[in-house]
Amino acid sequence: MLAKRIIPCLDIKDGKVVKGVNFVGLKDVGDPVELAKEYDRQCADEVVFLDITATYEDRGIIKDVIQRAANELSIPLCVGGGIRSLEDFRMILSVGADKVSVNSAAIKNPQLIKEASDEFGVQCVVVAVDAKMREDHSGWDVYIAGGRENTGIDLLEWVKKCEALGAGEILLTSMDADGTREGFDIEMLKTVVEAVHIPVIASGGCGGKEDIADVFEKTNCDAALAASLFHYQEATVDEVKEICAKRHIPVRRNR
């Protein structure tokens, strides 16, 4: 049986790890490669590097970080943040990342999803989607530019379009839950998981070990992503997996 994946996410700025709470109030917690290796030892199933300021600043440094990480990790690495073109995909994959996550650029140019999946394979194209409940609660809108800009595009329409264009996976962040640490956005996740046939990674809102087990029990998502829970050593990935295993959720354990 396919294991549910637990994915620590490292937000990176200028080659260092940070974690934003609702995308502001950044706090440095160290070298991404060292931290990623620690997560590998803890039995993380994958690691995500998100270059959070990449849309605005120079990204030369991240290339070196990706290369060092890819060479030292024994688990897959996904990299996102500021991906604009096929050339960006090529650069990131060429230095050793396994997957590339694309967000704003896919909204501006949806064909990028198709071009990237045709050239590099669907499995390395992750579409990251940030979404927020509309004020009238009629559904969710997709936001871009790190949550700064409402596109007015409906979440469900967008994820279905992503799948049709060749996305291999959806990394879904609930902006309503992100930073609250009150648990994942179960309602949004359930709705998206039912709408598409590609894997969905739950993101935003994880505040404790039980939240990860909860999201796997309450939704059919394939993976759960968390940052602060692991960065601030409130829990190890192993400890979360122990809880999942006790609750009969299939997870890969160290033996």
């Binding site: 049986m1 396919l2 294991a3 994946r5 590998d40 039995c43 199933d45 290369q67 890819a70 060479n71 030292e72 990790l73 024994s74 688990i75 897959p76 994959l93 060429s94 230095v95 050793g96 990342a97 396994d98 050239e119 590099f120 394979g121 669907v122 499995q123 390395c124 291999g168 996976e169 046939h197 590609i198 894997p199 394939d222 993976a223 890969r252 160290n254 033996r255």
Partner: protein
């Protein structure tokens, strides 16, 4: 020396480093002379079947690999590198493969589960083989693919169950080994499989 074949299909850093961490002497190369002198050959690959075959052809590596096979040098194809070891693939367009393993590679639209088959799945051992000597039934390895091999029971060494079908995970015929999953991305279990490959190569 292990030759990791460079034919421009994805980054080779992680597989090369995984082998080096096991104290293997590794060369990343497309040089026929180096490949023919190697004690073992790794054929990696990420991308699509036709592109991989075209690149092998452009680098004049098809004949070289046939010689390697004839010399009984262990060859391990990983992921797409495994798929091109078969007779034919249907990704993008029907394409002839190397034909070292029996069978064809087809889209997995018959599985009752999400495609791609992406993530950690458990190995079920169909026939014991020295490559899996350190592996226990049920160990998790990392898969990422949308096409799978259709092969004979004899050559099917291990598989993973997914959406009601047996996904060939390790297919072996004589000195030719195909690994659908990525041992270099499969944590401790992956390391053990690469260690067993090292032992196969040196014996």
């Amino acid at each position: 020396m292990i030759a990791v074949i460079d034919y421009h299909v994805g980054n080779l850093g992680s597989v090369t480093n995984a082998l080096r961490r096991l104290d293997m002497d590794v060369e990343v190369t497309s040089d026929p002379e180096v490949i023919l002198q190697a004690d073992g050959v790794i054929l990696p690959g990420v991308g699509t079947f036709p592109v991989a075959m075209k690149n092998l052809e452009n680098e004049h590596l098809i004949e070289v690999l046939n010689e390697v096979k004839a010399k009984k040098t262990p060859i391990m194809g990983i992921c797409l590198g495994m798929q091109v070891l078969f007779e034919k693939g249907y990704e993008v367009e029907e394409t002839k493969g190397l034909g070292f393993l029996d069978g064809e590679v087809k889209y997995m639209d018959d599985v009752k589960a999400k495609i791609p088959h992406m993530g950690w799945n458990q190995l079920v051992i169909n026939h014991p083989h020295p490559l899996l000597k350190y592996v226990q039934e049920g160990d998790y390895v990392y898969f990422v693919h949308s096409y799978r091999a259709h092969t004979t029971d004899d050559e099917l060494i291990a598989y993973a169950s997914y959406g009601g079908v047996k996904v060939p995970a390790v297919v072996i015929k004589d000195n030719v080994i195909g690994c659908q999953f990525h041992p270099e991305k499969s944590g401790e279990v992956g390391k053990k499989i690469l260690l067993a490959f090292k032992e196969l190569v040196s014996c």
